[in-house]
């Protein structure tokens, strides 16, 4: 459906694909084959093209381009599977929807699998057969990655994280300085000079991670987490070296790079002799480090990996913190991050915490595992070539928010926050966007 643009188009990415050799295509196929295990192989033979997935996808709901239908996107991969890895499919290729991996098809992969999918998984839970479409698409993205065909913005995010230790390229000195002044702020806020944002505290119970964007643009969310830990009397620490919860390897499909990034957090937990890894409010960071990293690294961690919102729930239930919801009187709604909720299984926790923290909570419709993706996942925020699409499909989320009448949108994910901030501006929603911890911090009752 998509054809590689003609020679007049100055698109380095398209040019790179056009120049692929047979050997390059062989590398892609080899990686794809390595990434297909029995589960994906079964699912690639299951799609009956019923089309019921179409209206589950926020891309298709907002843009009726057939390329946005999840079955089409899956078909781009299933076609290659049939032609290359299925004996009957190979003989009847065109008849059963098989396709050879040509440069034109690779361009379609680039445009549709990277540019028309946020790996949100809403299609999968609405698929009649239950096909795990986002994970199969991720495998194909990984095959593209093996040939250096990840769209530049996304790949550079991964490269920066690998090279610098975090995806924003924050230098260690800057990180330490940020924590230092945030600690001073915390001491003033809680009126306690002993309040700490500890770094490299060996033997601390919990290692806490952040999304580097917090350090650069949203320091209040770090302060909020610090204040909650302070109120709970938690034994915790940051790592000076490995503090990045994000893992864009989940999005570019490169398991090796993803393993390196998550492995660093594992290393820090061990070095600092912590007993638990606590993940900042980051949907894909949660999916990566809670669910995928042990598979990427082929090992059992031997310690729990939890989201900070699970920890906050525990604090509330055990009375370690006390909250006064009347301190947050504005109407609040919740955006469910796909990787935390639909793919992560953290569904009721954030609701419990918010209902204890705010006095006027209202759900979006639909919500929980059926919630729509904001449009920022799947690496979309990093791929500028698809930015216009991202904002267009985000209209669905904007409509959901507007319908709630909320003044504050809370989401436990910094990727989602970035997208929601853009949607807020573009669709003139006039809402504040906050993390769960920020709401909790505002509702805290601190003992005198």
């Amino acid at each position: 459906m998509n054809q590689a643009p003609d020679n007049s188009e100055k698109d380095a990415y398209a040019e790179k694909i056009r120049a692929l050799s047979r050997e390059d295509r062989r590398v892609i196929l080899k990686t794809l084959r390595e990434r297909i295990h029995h589960d994906f192989a079964a699912q690639l033979q299951t799609c009956a093209h019923c089309g019921l997935c179409a209206d589950a996808c926020h891309y298709y709901i907002k843009d009726k381009n057939p390329c946005n239908i999840p079955a089409h996107k899956l078909g781009l991969i299933a076609g290659v599977f049939k032609t290359e890895f299925d004996s009957i499919g190979r003989k009847l290729s065109g008849f059963v929807g098989g396709r050879r991996l040509s440069n034109d098809l690779i361009y379609e992969w680039g445009d549709d699998l990277f540019g028309r999918c946020s790996l949100c998984g809403r299609c999968a839970i609405n698929c009649t057969m239950g096909i795990n479409i986002p994970y199969i698409i991720r495998a194909a993205r990984g095959a593209m990655a093996s040939a250096g065909l990840v769209p530049p913005g996304l790949q550079s995010t991964v490269d920066t994280a690998i090279e610098k230790g975090n995806n924003m390229g924050i230098e260690k000195a800057d990180w330490l300085e940020t924590v230092e002044w945030l600690e001073e702020d915390l001491q003033q806020d809680v009126d306690d000079p002993a309040a700490r944002l500890p770094i490299d505290l060996k033997g601390a119970e919990k290692l806490y991670t952040i999304n580097p964007r917090e350090a650069m643009f949203f320091p209040l969310s770090i302060s909020a987490a610090g204040k909650v830990f302070y109120a709970a009397g938690e034994s915790w620490t940051f790592s000076s070296a490995n503090f990045d919860v994000t893992n864009y390897g989940l999005y570019n499909g490169d398991d090796e790079a993803a393993g390196i990034m998550s492995g660093r957090l594992l290393e820090s937990v061990r070095e600092l002799e912590c007993r638990e890894l606590i993940l900042a409010e980051c949907g894909h960071g949660f999916n990566s480090n809670r669910w995928e990293a042990p598979e990427w690294l082929s090992l059992k961690y031997g310690f729990p990996v939890r989201s900070i919102i699970e920890l906050i729930e525990e604090y509330i239930r055990t009375g370690r913190i006390r909250l006064d919801p009347s301190k947050n009187t504005k109407r609040v709604t919740l955006h469910d991050p796909c990787n935390l909720v639909r793919l992560g299984g953290i569904i009721e926790t954030q609701r419990f915490v918010l209902k204890k923290s705010v006095s006027d909570f209202v759900e979006m419709t639909p919500n929980r595992e059926q919630n729509y993706c904001c449009g920022g996942g799947g690496g979309q925020l990093a791929m500028t070539r698809f930015a216009e699409r991202r904002i267009r499909v985000g209209e669905l989320k904007a409509e959901q928010i507007r319908a709630t009448g909320a003044e504050i949108v809370v989401t436990p994910c910094h990727n989602c926050i970035d997208q929601l901030m853009e949607l807020n501006k573009h669709y003139k929603l006039n809402v504040e966007i906050k993390t769960v911890a920020e709401m909790v911090a505002d509702a805290l009752i601190l003992d005198d």
Binding site: A42, Q45, H49, G51, L92, W291, K300, Y301, R351
Partner: protein
């Protein structure tokens, strides 16, 4: 002639079953990776959900939004299974089901035929459906619809036994070739679905009362 065709139908069924089992074995041959992350929920409960509650329209938005298509799909498959049961009775011979059972089989086959034709018309008429379809999709539907039509006519005693058996042989042999292989792979994929989401604690849903803040 009829006897030979019955034998051929039975042989083709055996052959198809062998090929399908071979395809499953080959699929398993793609290997599996051990899981290392600790579960948050129950894989087995997820599998039960996948084959029960998880198929219900009130659980699945896509089914709710496309209730007619979803119902047609269910009806089509019930009709097909009834048709295959009828074919088995024809091939085995000598066994005449009670009138009431035969009535139910006829109703299901007739409904299946109507739904099958309806789904074919939808595939042909809706551009989005055409865009995701390949020749196999149309062929599979037509072969099955024709089978249901002939089986239905045969059940009323019309002289279509030979065409029914010939068509059945073609249809049965076609199963592993294209999309109809999903008759096996559906169960495979649904188990995987249930296990994945069950293990992650996404499905089954907590009951409504459990969702409320205590």
């Amino acid at each position: 002639m009829e006897s030979i065709l019955k034998i051929l139908a039975a042989v083709s069924a055996g052959l198809t079953l062998s090929v399908l089992i071979g395809q499953i074995v080959r699929t398993l041959g793609f290997g599996r990776l051990p899981l290392h992350s600790p579960p948050h929920g129950s894989g087995s409960r997820g599998i039960l959900y996948a084959f029960g509650q998880g198929m219900m329209p009130w659980e699945k938005e896509s089914a709710r939004k496309h209730l007619i298509t979803y119902t047609a799909g269910f009806g089509y498959h019930f009709g097909i299974f009834s048709g295959l049961l009828y074919l088995a009775l024809v091939v085995v011979s000598g066994f005449a089901p009670p009138y009431a059972a035969m009535f139910v089989i006829r109703v299901l086959m007739a409904a299946g035929l109507v739904f099958g034709i309806g789904l074919l018309i939808k595939r042909l008429g809706v551009s989005a459906m055409r865009s995701i379809s390949c020749p196999d999709d149309y062929t599979a539907n037509i072969l099955v619809d024709l089978f249901l039509m002939l089986a239905l006519l045969d059940s009323f005693g019309l002289p279509v036994r030979v065409p029914l058996l010939i068509e059945s042989i073609f249809m049965i042999l076609y199963i592993p070739v294209g999309k109809i292989r999903h008759c096996f792979f559906f169960f495979y994929s649904r188990i995987l679905f249930g296990f994945f989401y069950g293990r992650r604690g996404v499905f089954p849903h907590p009951r409504t009362s459990e969702r409320d803040v205590k």
